[in-house]
């Protein structure tokens, strides 16, 4: 009944597509943060347990559904039960929101990549002030890397209410990012299948290079020791377990419909169980690998800052007391300080307030996640390395590959249902559909290039996908197990692949995973309700640091709209199908 569905040229392309989609920026900038916050080496325990109990079963479920139904998310769920067409629509809506804001990260990566070809790197020096006697004030108060991010890249406004104008430089980079994505998805699996070889493999090459470089940096061992020393008491902290579950859940990209889309282009006899295990293990190992690299870079940066701090104290004391240059070193600093305190008490008490207490621990404890880690902390470390242009280019190229890989999955989740639908694909060829989707996303994405754009980005990042995905995956699991029937699904899989379904998967799908998701959902809801008003971090240019502010009411309304528009699709879809059926039954009854 359907003319040949495009297939992956080899199963390897499918595995690479899944890896390239799952291994994204979250592995690089969220997992190291969680590791640091929740006990270093001991965080691996809840992480691996959640991987086995939640990650692998849910991934297998999505891949199996996609491979069995051989349609995108809307069609697949409609086949399972007509009342579930809302689930597919919800997945597409969430993917749409995600692709809107996610490509802005690629635009920023392009911006930094293009600026890496200069000597010195533009974020390593502060620009001069008006009369060229000193540096720009904002840059002095913050640091040069923060200044470059907040002022030169984002040109951020002090609050979300002041939207400002669209910045043409990031807008150009965003247009380029969308053109690149369009180029990759233009021909469907034919073009995507070739691109994923690059987007899956190149980040690993760069990570390997960075691993070698990172481990040989001065002070890297400080960071690694700090990260891997397990703090066993964190195992008792429920937040550690919840965050491990959340990280696994979002890292694999479940619920967006991308995995269903990818699996729908598979041969029916493909062994998706083997691929599930491979993809999930590679995803988690990449997270751990990336955090080793991140922590050696952290250690280098912390040691560098600690030593500069000490040097500043030494310079201050040398200048105030006119000591011989070179007399004060790191080793004799404490003795000399006590000697000076006793010998010149009045002068010492004048100078004392300016002497900072330099501590390596406090430098290491500054845990950062998200765009702050990628664009501020890493660039700070890179600017202190030798041949910093090379390292910068490699790093941002890797970020770009990771981001584009995830975008391919996101757009596949939107396009596969559209191209599957007979109505749309009869009017437009698939190049035109892809082009339209990219154009619409790009136009809306220009909102994120305005001066207040980063604040809207944070809204989308925090709220567009989190609650909705949990609900979607919960409904998916319950639907397959109880609505469609676990035995029926099991016999379908056996007929399709030839292998029997292991009892482990059945136990997980039936009981453990849905319970886990429900508890995550309850936790998130209670968290939102308890914290009351939502707040955000705004950049204050006069102080050179972030300050916390409340969201204005219209921003809160938009957050509510984001969450509601995807979650409401599920009940609305069921209701719509019910009404249509009722009307049809009413018609046939009246005819007869």
């Amino acid at each position: 009944m359907d003319e040949a569905r495009p297939l992956w040229a080899t199963p390897l392309q499918f595995v690479f597509a899944c890896i390239s989609y799952a291994v994204g920026l979250g592995n690089v900038w969220r997992f190291p943060y969680l590791c640091q916050m929740y006990g270093g080496g001991s965080f691996l325990v809840p992480y691996i347990i959640m991987l086995a109990v939640e990650g692998m079963p849910l991934l297998y479920l999505e891949l199996a559904v996609g491979q069995r139904m051989r349609q995108g998310s809307i069609g697949a769920w409609r086949t399972i039960s007509p009342y579930l067409s809302g689930v597919g629509v919800a997945s597409v809506v969430v993917s749409f929101f995600l692709s809107m804001y996610y490509n802005v990260i690629n635009a920023w990566a392009f911006w930094y990549l293009f600026h890496s070809f200069q000597d010195p790197l533009p974020w390593s020096v502060c620009p001069l002030n008006g009369n060229r006697t000193g540096y720009d004030e904002e840059c002095e108060k913050a640091s040069s890397t923060q200044y470059f991010w907040y002022r030169k890249t984002l040109n951020i406004s002090p609050s979300i209410q002041e939207s400002g104008a669209v910045q043409w430089e990031p807008a150009l980079c965003l247009i380029l990012a969308w053109l690149l994505v369009y180029l990759c998805i233009l021909r469907g699996t034919e073009s995507t299948g070739k691109v994923v070889y690059f987007t899956a493999l190149l980040p690993y090459c760069v990570l390997m290079i960075y691993l070698v470089r990172g481990l040989t940096l001065h002070g890297a061992t400080n960071g690694l020791a700090y990260m891997f020393t397990p703090k066993m008491e964190q195992l008792a902290n429920p937040k550690a377990w919840i965050n491990a579950a959340t990280q696994i859940f979002f890292s694999l990209g479940l619920g967006f419909g991308s995995l269903i889309a990818f699996a729908s282009y598979n041969e029916p006899s493909n062994d998706c169980q083997k691929h599930t295990v491979i993809v999930s293990i590679i995803n988690s190992s990449t997270s751990i690998f990336a955090s080793v690299v991140t922590f050696s870079i952290y250690g280098f940066k912390a040691t560098f800052n600690y030593e500069s701090c000490l040097n500043k104290v030494i310079l201050l004391l040398t200048n105030s007391f006119d000591l011989e240059d070179g007399f004060l070193t790191v080793s004799n600093l404490e003795e000399v300080k006590s000697y000076l305190a006793s010998a010149y008490p009045s002068k010492y008490s004048e100078v004392f307030p300016q002497i900072k207490n330099c501590s390596l621990e406090s430098e290491l404890e500054t845990a950062v996640q998200g765009t702050g880690l990628a664009f501020i902390v890493y660039t700070e470390a890179i600017k202190n390395m030798e041949v910093s242009q090379l390292w910068s280019v490699l790093y941002f190229f890797m970020l770009l590959m990771l981001g584009i890989g995830s975008m391919l999955g996101n757009t596949a989740a939107i396009l596969t249902p559209l191209t599957d639908s007979k109505v749309i694909s009869s009017y437009l060829p698939k190049e035109a559909i892809s082009g339209l989707v990219c154009l619409v996303n790009c136009a809306i994405g220009l909102v994120f290039t305005m001066e207040a754009g980063n604040y809207w980005f944070d809204i989308f990042n925090d709220y567009a996908a989190t609650l909705s995905l949990l609900l979607i995956v919960l409904v998916e699991t319950v639907a397959v197990c109880y609505l469609y029937g676990l035995r029926r699904f099991e016999s379908d899989l056996k007929a399709m692949t030839g292998h029997a379904l292991n009892w482990y998967w059945k136990a997980m799908w039936g009981g453990v995973s849905p319970l886990l998701i429900i508890s995550l959902f309850v936790f998130y809801l209670s968290d939102y309700i308890i914290t009351g008003t939502l707040q955000y971090q705004a950049w204050d240019a006069s102080q050179g640091q972030l300050v916390t502010k409340d969201y204005p009411p219209y921003a809160l309304a938009i957050i509510g709209l984001l969450v509601a528009s995807s979650t409401m699709c599920i009940p609305l879809g069921a209701l719509g199908t019910f009404i249509v059926r009722h009307l049809k039954r009413g018609d046939t009854a009246s005819v007869a």
Binding site: R132, L183, G326
Partner: protein, 222 residues
């Protein structure tokens, strides 16, 4: 008498050059930080060179071409190395205004630094801000050039893919109709060799080959 004069002169000089005196500037050198092992010792010869450089800077100011080395006074040299200096006028009774000294030093800062193998950070004149070198801005920012290159490559590749896709679809649309034409042609062609039409046996149903059928009776009588 001479000793008295000497003491008087040094006393006056001492008064002119004092820490925080009017028109006096503090200088701070960080030799070991700048030069490490190759740091030279700061002695009176180096001080003489310093005085010479300051005098040279003042001589380049209009109206001050008569400044001599002896007009530059140094005092309070510490181990740091740091000291104060003033520049007096030819009468040696007054010090030159701070503003003039400041602008003179600013204009010749580079040469003073180079004379001592130091830079703005390691040879500091407190209260004389150094003019920072502005970053060299090329006329077209570099990032736009690279952006332009990548942009053009992506556009060209996209165009190629779209065009080849359109061409492929046109070929597919023509393909099925072309296939039907050739099949009809095969049925209607008659092969002609040497002007004589050859009728392949299987095209015209069945033909009895007369050469093999001679008489009715082929069966041998019993």
């Amino acid at each position: 008498m001479l000793w008295l004069l000497f003491f008087l002169v040094t006393a006056i000089h001492a008064e002119l050059c004092q820490p925080d005196a009017e028109n006096a500037f503090k200088v701070r050198l960080s030799l070991r930080t700048a030069l490490g092992d190759k740091a030279y010792a700061w002695d009176t010869n180096e001080e003489y060179l310093f005085k010479a450089m300051v005098a040279f800077s003042m001589r380049r100011v209009p109206n001050r071409e008569a400044t001599e080395i002896s007009h530059v006074l140094l005092c309070n040299v510490t181990q740091r190395v740091s000291f104060w200096f003033v520049v007096t006028d030819p009468s040696r009774n007054h010090t030159l205004p701070a503003v003039e000294v400041q602008s003179a030093i600013r204009m010749n800062r580079n040469r003073i630094n180079n004379a001592f193998f130091l830079n703005d950070q390691t040879l500091e004149f407190l209260r004389i801000p150094s003019t920072l070198a502005p970053p060299t801005d090329p006329s077209v920012p570099i990032w736009i050039i690279i952006f332009g290159v990548v942009f053009c490559i992506v556009i060209v590749a996209t165009m190629l893919l779209i065009l080849s896709g359109i061409r492929q679809r046109r070929r597919e649309n023509k393909g099925p109709s072309e296939m039907e034409d050739t099949e009809d042609k095969w049925e209607n062609t008659i092969t002609i060799e040497n002007g004589i039409p050859c009728d392949p046996l299987d095209m015209k149903g069945g033909h009895v080959n007369d050469a093999f059928v001679t008489e009715d009776e082929r069966l041998t009588p019993l």
